[in-house]
């Protein structure tokens, strides 16, 4: 090999090879980390990626998924051109169409539905990615529909509700300053490595880690000083037993509770029924370990719980999450460094240290007199608690099927994934009931096959976008490459739609740069080109560090102005099945335990996947090629199942066939299955009404099932 060939093969960026580095962000897991990426470009193509050194979230490293960015953006199944349906719905036959014609069809069909059935009959549905959400929300509202719905109906919003009902605002544990962390149902090193790194950094400085998780996670087996393995869904009983001890032994922060908390008496009376032995009976965790965990939590200050998102994926999940947060209030660990802190957001759930006009950007267009949005009557707490007025998408299937309180007739889908919906085939059947479906996506998904018009979207590598970081930084990317096919970025598509629909909304019709700069006009930034030119995120002139204690001083944004141990919004709603207190209640379904002896948990992260987005990336898929269910070795032995055997997971509604992965990551009696596989979609076997009545969230992580060995035919 010549020297040049060697350089080229090693992909060394230099004038000789013509390989150049351009900066962008990874948008695979979104919207949390969005790590900085150095894209190695040769002849306009990405030939390799690396993490950007000095970038605030990742400083040079990447996770498993981000490292596969090149294959992700060049996936075979990317949508290549706008298309219109040529066969029957679901058949997957399409013919190409120009952007112009596609827009004309969309405008005509959507306006027709609006004229005949009202604007509410059009639902604007958002899946992944999430960077364009404020724009899609404004599009919906400017069109006149209150039905802007996102897949956060299954993912993040229940957490937001729990935090909001207690503290009046979304909050986050301050892992960087905590000296002790109680990680509750969260496997940070795998599900979000920057969070995992913060936990490990705390440990490296001598801090202590308690892990409470029904799965024997990486964090549990490798880093925990104390590991508690509760039965799935029993967490509230553990939290209540801890609260009872704190109150009865006068180890709670009385001054804090007196000054800042509402509902203490009712709450104290309720938790007094949870003795350690009762908690042990419910959870299977030895009483001594519960006490030890509490001692470690209280004896270190500052300390914090790190509650995992998955806690809300049980049908009593909202209460479980609240029960755990209540410990922070009781111990006076709120709004101080190293405890739970109020979270702020500037744009798309991320924080650059100043308030933007984002909320106003879409709420100013809220359709005042529209009929109620999807799910709002069925889930009144959702409706009353959330400031941003999304619909609850878990009521969509019912709404589409029953057509009440009014029929839905058209769907505008952006990155929608049917496999996030329970009994997913019913979601696709619901799409087929629509008069018109337009679907935008990066990839050719199942939902695409059910659309009338298909619009190809870009990845983060092909677009320009603003991203905020860590309460201080703001980043404005330029495209690292031109569109790989005849695709456009989501906001461009929204802008085209707004124009084609001839909406009375000049701002939205003016495109990304103008709208984003409008929302961020409070930043103090004047020269946006300079921000775009910066290789690393910059600090906005108006960015201010949050001063801990501000919230305590200014009062909480709850109806009572206090931290609510008893939720006043629920008191006001007054529905007998919705308790204002964070009660313990079984999250089990009514399936017969004799017939369905296992408890299924789905959705917990594996390193090489996020939802279904990376199952078709060959590098990532090669790491765990088969959809597989984790079964405890003791259960496997009892059932005569060996590693790699084919097994069926059977619920009361359906079944899927997968491979067995024998591992004690699953507790005895539990099985654990990653979601989003086309050939083995675990959510398709979860009943559509297996929902938390408070939040509408699916009980992904607790469902009765049966495991059957399937004899492989020779």
């Amino acid at each position: 090999m010549t020297e040049l060939e060697r350089l080229q093969k090693a992909k060394i960026p230099c004038p000789e090879t013509g390989i150049e580095i351009r900066h962008t962000v990874c948008d695979i897991c979104t919207p949390g980390p969005q790590c900085g990426i150095d894209a190695f470009i040769k002849d306009g193509k990405v030939i390799k990626v690396e993490g950007t050194d000095g970038f605030p979230t990742n400083d040079g490293v990447l996770c498993t998924k981000g490292a596969a960015s090149r294959q992700y953006i060049y996936r075979e199944d990317r949508l290549k051109t706008p298309m219109k349906r040529a066969g029957a719905r679901g058949e997957g036959r399409f013919e190409p169409i120009s952007w112009e014609d596609a827009m004309a069809v969309c405008a005509e069909e959507l306006n027709k539905v609006k004229a005949n059935h009202g604007p509410e009959a059009v639902t604007f549905l958002c899946g992944y990615s999430k960077w364009f959400r404020p724009w899609l929300q404004r599009l919906a509202y400017s069109f006149g529909s209150p039905n802007y719905i996102t897949e956060s109906s299954t993912c993040h919003t229940a957490e937001v509700m729990s935090y909001t009902s207690l503290f009046g605002t979304y909050s986050m544990p301050d892992l960087r300053n905590a000296k002790m962390i109680m990680s509750w149902g969260s496997n940070g090193v795998i599900n979000s490595y920057p969070m995992g790194r913060a936990v490990l950094a705390m440990k490296a400085q001598g801090g202590k880690l308690v892990v409470i998780d029904p799965r024997r996670t990486h964090l549990a087996v490798k880093y925990a000083d104390l590991y508690l393995q509760p039965k799935i869904g029993s967490d509230a009983a553990i939290a209540h037993a801890m609260a009872k001890i704190m109150i009865e032994e006068e180890r709670y922060d009385k001054a804090f509770v007196d000054k800042y908390c509402y509902g203490f008496e009712k709450y104290a009376n309720y938790v007094s029924h949870f003795s350690l032995s009762r908690a042990e009976e419910i959870s299977g965790v030895p009483a001594g370990d519960i006490r030890k965990a509490l001692d470690m939590f209280l004896e270190t200050d500052p300390s914090t719980v790190l509650p995992g998102n998955g806690l809300t994926h049980r049908i009593n999940g909202y209460n479980i999450h609240r029960a755990i947060l209540s410990l922070m209030a009781l111990s006076g660990r709120y709004d101080r460094p190293g405890t739970m802190m109020p979270a702020r957001k500037t744009l798309c759930e991320s924080d650059a240290g100043f308030d933007s006009l984002e909320h106003d950007f879409y709420m100013s267009r809220w359709p005042q007199n529209a009929r109620p949005r999807v799910g709002s009557e069925r889930f009144p707490l959702w409706t009353k608690l959330l400031h941003d007025r999304q619909g609850q998408g878990m009521d969509l299937i019912r709404h589409m099927e029953e057509g009440t309180p009014y029929p839905l007739k058209a769907m505008v889908c952006f990155g929608v994934n049917d496999r996030m919906y329970l009994e997913s085939p019913r979601f696709l059947a619901g799409l087929d009931r629509m008069d018109f479906v337009v679907a935008t996506d990066i990839f050719h998904t199942d939902v695409i096959n059910h659309a009338d018009i298909v619009l190809p979207a870009s990845t983060s590598f092909e677009r320009s976008e603003v991203k905020c970081y860590m309460g201080q930084f703001l980043y404005y990317t330029r495209p690292a490459i031109s569109p790989v096919h005849d695709n456009k970025d989501d906001v461009e598509i929204i802008t085209l739609l707004a124009n084609a629909l001839d909406l009375d909304d000049d701002l939205l019709r003016s495109g990304y740069d103008k709208t984003v700069q409008h929302m961020l006009s409070t930043s103090g930034i004047e020269d946006w080109e300079a921000v775009k030119n910066s290789p690393l995120p910059v600090r906005a002139p108006n960015a201010k560090r949050y001063i801990p204690g501000t919230q305590l001083r200014e009062g909480f944004k709850t109806p009572t102005g206090k931290i609510e141990l008893s939720c006043s919004v629920l008191e006001e709603i007054g529905r007998p099945d919705l308790d204002p207190l964070p009660i313990h209640k079984s999250s089990d379904d009514d399936a017969d335990p004799a017939k369905y002896p296992f408890v299924l948990m789905s959705g917990a992260r594996i390193p090489n996947a996020v939802h279904s987005r990376t199952h078709n990336v060959p590098w990532l898929r090669s790491l765990r090629p088969n959809p597989s269910v984790d079964i405890n070795p003791a259960d496997a032995e009892r059932l005569g199942i060996k590693q790699g055997d084919t097994v069926r997971i059977v619920s009361t509604v359906s079944s899927i066939t997968v491979k067995a992965n024998i591992s004690s990551i699953s507790n005895v009696g539990d099985v654990n299955m990653f979601h989003g596989y086309k050939e083995a979609n675990i959510n398709s076997i979860i009943p559509v009404d297996h929902l938390d009545p408070y939040t509408g969230f699916p009980g992904y992580k607790q469902l009765r099932c049966r495991i059957e060995k399937v004899e492989d035919r020779p």
Binding site: A10, I12, G51, V61, T64, V189, V221, L620, V668
Partner: protein
């Protein structure tokens, strides 16, 4: 300067980011039968009530008196004098698998179609230009590192933590 790959086992979670970065660096195509040069493993041992887990990432150890090199009948493998990495030129490879059989870690791999040997070359060209190997650079937990021989000696002397050294065969 001679180098040693070091895995700090206490930091590895077997996430495979290193394996993917290597595939990206070396254009590994699993669909075309390419075998990755680096792989991560979780090993679970012991009683069901209290299992012990080990998390590892393994690639070529760049052994000092590399058995693969000695075994190859056509001289495909050699030591890079500058870095000490076991590098290769597979032009003359006859696909006899002698190197793989000699290697205690079964590192040399063979593409399904071409039948020729490939393996980790330590990202030698990158290292020579002051860059880190792709797998080292990506690791989100800083578990993998490439250190000079003298740093390595120092590390072994001062650091009591368990490390999988790439000098296992010394």
């Amino acid at each position: 300067m001679k180098y040693v790959f070091v895995l700090d086992e206490s930091k590895c979670v077997a996430c495979s980011a290193c394996a993917v970065a290597c595939m990206d660096q070396n254009d590994i195509d699993p669909l075309a039968g390419d075998i990755p040069f680096r792989a991560a493993f979780v090993d679970e041992q012991g009683p069901v009530e209290d299992p012990k887990f080990t998390f590892l990432s393994i690639a070529c150890m760049h052994c000092e008196n590399a058995p693969c090199m000695i075994a190859c009948p056509t001289g495909c493998l050699k030591k890079d004098p500058e870095t000490g990495f076991t590098v290769f030129d597979n032009t003359n490879c006859i696909g006899c698998h002698s190197c793989a059989m000699a290697c205690p870690f079964a590192q040399p791999c063979f593409n399904d179609n071409s039948g020729k040997m490939t393996k980790c070359d330590g990202c030698v060209e990158r290292v020579k230009r002051g860059m880190q190997p792709a797998c080292v650079k990506v690791c989100p937990f800083g578990a993998l590192s490439l250190v000079s021989e003298s740093e390595y000696q120092e590390l072994m002397r001062t650091d009591a933590r368990k490390k999988i050294s790439y000098k296992i065969l010394d």
